[in-house]
């Protein structure tokens, strides 16, 4: 599948969902820029996607992630830069001939067609005969668990069902790349969770290279092979979910992904920072010397119950195996600390505690003026 296979991809018979595409498709976004008026939606974005990989683009609204996806889909054009699929520049190929399956944020099923006809639409456009088309559309509906709803119209389906049909429709054309534009954000929490797992399972089974845009970090971290965090049209960092969480490259990533405490500290010469009465080595990017904030995850802080400690417990939230404890430190600094729930009994609001930093390298960021 190295060349444009508008016809071949569709005519290649075979049971969908067994082998998927051997080798998959590689995708390269190279130095994309796009400006809307004065705002730069994309400012030199480059991402390389390995065949069969699921890459999530994560970022606050307006960070350019959707623009990037729409450029790959062919609905927007980049001012500069190019999109390469399997090494070929597709910038001049119209959306209809890119062979990319897309699932949209809003419900995008054709209201005049039944679920089965919706799924079969792409095959129809590829001139697949009615019998074959129905069979394959039926298989795909079965794959997303909606075979009984085949003859229903979109308005008779729930939101989650509609998005599953939309997913089946996008996969029916055996796309070279699957594009997911916040497909779960219109759904309620429970359905979102189910569908999240379903999408990931299907994607892995089919080995379809997938670009997934979301503003929900949990979604990105749980589904993607790699997550690209975007801000102001730029990629801040792209890494595997665990690396992103444990080893964020920038303060933006550190705070956007997961919960992060900011503890005032003083940056010394020689990559040392003093905070909470200790001195620690600094890792990663560092601002100018002087007043900084040390960035620490709730599970990265030590907490002991002591008389006359440096903090007072204010809140205690049970989260299952861990309990999140809110602590008010002197100087109007509030931090959150995770403790195993079994040990949290003593940490009732009002208890005096000592919060300290373990002797490990920490991330720092310029002091936030608040």
């Amino acid at each position: 599948m190295t060349t444009n296979t508008t016809g071949n991809a569709a005519t290649a018979a075979g049971t969908i969902g067994q082998a998927g595409r051997e080798g998959g498709t590689s995708v390269l976004l190279r130095d994309l820029t796009r400006a809307f008026g004065a705002t730069r939606a994309l400012d030199g974005l480059s991402i390389e996607m390995a065949p069969g990989e699921l890459v999530a683009l994560l970022g606050p609204s307006g960070c350019g992630k959707t623009t990037a996806l729409r450029i790959v889909a062919g609905f927007e054009t980049a001012d500069t830069g190019s999109v390469l699929v399997d090494g070929k520049d597709i910038s001049s190929v119209p959306a209809a001939r890119r062979d990319m399956g897309m699932v949209f944020q809003s419900y995008s099923l054709f209201p005049n067609m039944s679920a089965l006809d919706n799924v079969g639409f792409g095959l129809r456009m590829r001139k697949i005969g009615a019998g074959e088309r129905r069979k394959r559309a039926g298989d795909l509906l079965d794959m997303v668990g909606l075979a009984p709803q085949a003859s229903q119209y979109p308005h008779q389906l729930s939101g989650g069902q509609q998005q599953r049909v939309a997913l089946a429709r996008a996969l029916a054309i055996e796309p070279r790349v699957l594009l997911l534009d916040e497909p779960l954000s219109a759904l309620d929490a429970k359905v979102r969770l189910q569908l999240r797992e379903q999408i990931r399972t299907l994607q892995q089974r089919l080995g379809t290279t997938t670009l997934f845009v979301t503003h929900d970090q949990e979604e990105a971290l749980s589904m993607a092979d790699r997550v690209g965090v975007m801000s102001n049209g730029r990629l801040e960092q792209i890494a595997a979910p665990d690396a992103l969480y444990t080893d964020p490259a920038t303060a933006f990533v550190a705070e956007f992904v997961g919960v992060m405490n900011r503890i005032p500290g003083e940056l010394q010469a020689g990559d040392q920072v003093t905070a909470l009465g200790g001195t620690l080595p600094v890792r990663g990017h560092r601002p100018k010397e002087g007043a900084v904030d040390v960035l620490v995850r709730p599970e990265g802080l030590r907490l002991e119950v002591v008389e006359n400690g440096n903090g007072i417990v204010t809140t205690r939230t049970f989260l299952g195996s861990v309990t999140r404890v809110g602590v008010q430190l002197s100087g109007d600094v509030a931090v959150q600390v995770d403790r195993p729930s079994a040990e949290a009994a003593a940490l009732a609001p009002g208890a005096s505690v000592a919060v300290s930093l373990p002797a490990q390298p920490v991330l720092v960021a310029a002091r936030r003026v608040s």
């Binding site: 508008t6 889909a73 062919g74 609905f75 119209p94 959306a95 209809a96 001939r97 890119r98 062979d99 990319m100 399956g101 897309m102 949209f104 809003s106 419900y107 995008s108 099923l109 054709f110 209201p111 005049n112 067609m113 039944s114 006809d117 639409f121 792409g122 456009m125 590829r126 003859s151 229903q152 119209y153 979109p154 308005h155 008779q156 939309a166 429709r169 996008a170 054309i173 594009l179």
Partner: protein
């Protein structure tokens, strides 16, 4: 497929349940209904009495009946086709690419209602090229202008009820070019809107008198008027006939449109717009 779909849709349309109105309101409803009913039906009944059943038989044989009716029907067909061919792509394009122009377009399309028909036809006759003068195409072109406000509104309402941008993009990403997208995705979803536009255009053309008579065409309404000078009864019978035919036509379109609309979850077909509750902004 159709049978499957129809079976599936049976019993899906939510039953309309109305709260019982308080007695006072209920009585007022009937009073209003009766008064309005009388206002509309008494003239019809009077016309029917005046013409007599016998007149209906002789209408058909009257000189000019067939030719004038044929002309009116031809004009209705041409006007409808031209109007839709003109308005539909424009409205779709504006919705997709130039949403800011929607207001302006709405303003422009209302002009034919504001400008008196007399002014319009005098202007048209002054500038119309010689080739068109005296042909029914000229009249059809004028009717296209007159029908524009109604047709545009109907189609615009239909488009607004769709998430057009997403649907078009979905269709594109599945490999459909513009032709297929328009034919297989947009048009079927605008069915009720197009029916509304057609109904309004046809009704307008079948009833238009001023322009046709000023331009010396003997359309059906003009023929009825001319005929009334010689035979009052026959012309009244012809009017009633025209009224019933148009009415049945409108009813048929509304019923067919509503049935389709129920199947695909579309809005009610009304003669002026096809409104669907919008669930999200565009």
């Amino acid at each position: 497929m159709a049978t499957l779909a129809e079976r599936a849709s049976e019993g899906i349309a939510p039953p309309r349940r109305r709260k019982a109105a308080p007695l006072g309101v209920s009585i007022w409803r009937w009073v209003v209904l009766l008064v309005t009913g009388a206002y509309f039906l008494i003239p019809l009944w009077a016309a029917l009495r005046f013409a007599g059943i016998g007149a209906f038989g002789s209408v058909v044989g009257e000189a000019g009946f067939t030719s004038s009716l044929a002309l009116s029907v031809r004009l209705a067909v041409i006007t409808t086709l031209l109007t839709i061919a003109l308005i539909l792509p424009t409205a779709v394009y504006v919705h997709l690419r130039l949403p800011k122009l929607r207001r302006l377009l709405e303003g422009i399309t209302i002009l034919p209602i504001v400008i008196p028909p007399v002014v319009l036809i005098v202007g048209v006759l002054a500038i119309a090229p010689g080739i068109l003068k005296g042909t029914s195409l000229l009249l059809a072109l004028v009717y296209v202008v007159l029908a524009m406000p109604f047709a545009y509104r109907a189609i615009d309402a239909g488009l607004r009820a769709l998430d057009l941008k997403t649907i078009v993009e979905a269709s594109n990403s599945l490999g459909a070019g513009w032709g297929s997208t328009l034919w297989r995705v947009i048009l079927p979803n605008l069915r009720t809107a197009l029916l509304s536009a057609t109904v309004l255009t046809v009704a307008l053309v079948l009833g238009e008198f001023t322009i046709a008579s000023l331009d010396l065409y003997q359309t059906f309404p003009v023929w009825i008027y001319v005929n009334s000078q010689t035979s009052g009864q026959v012309s009244v019978a012809a009017s009633l006939l025209a009224l019933f035919v148009t009415w049945i036509f409108l009813l048929a379109i509304t019923v067919v449109g509503s049935r389709q609309s129920r199947k695909t979850g579309g809005g009610e077909v009304t003669l002026f717009s096809v409104a669907r509750t919008e669930t999200r902004g565009d």
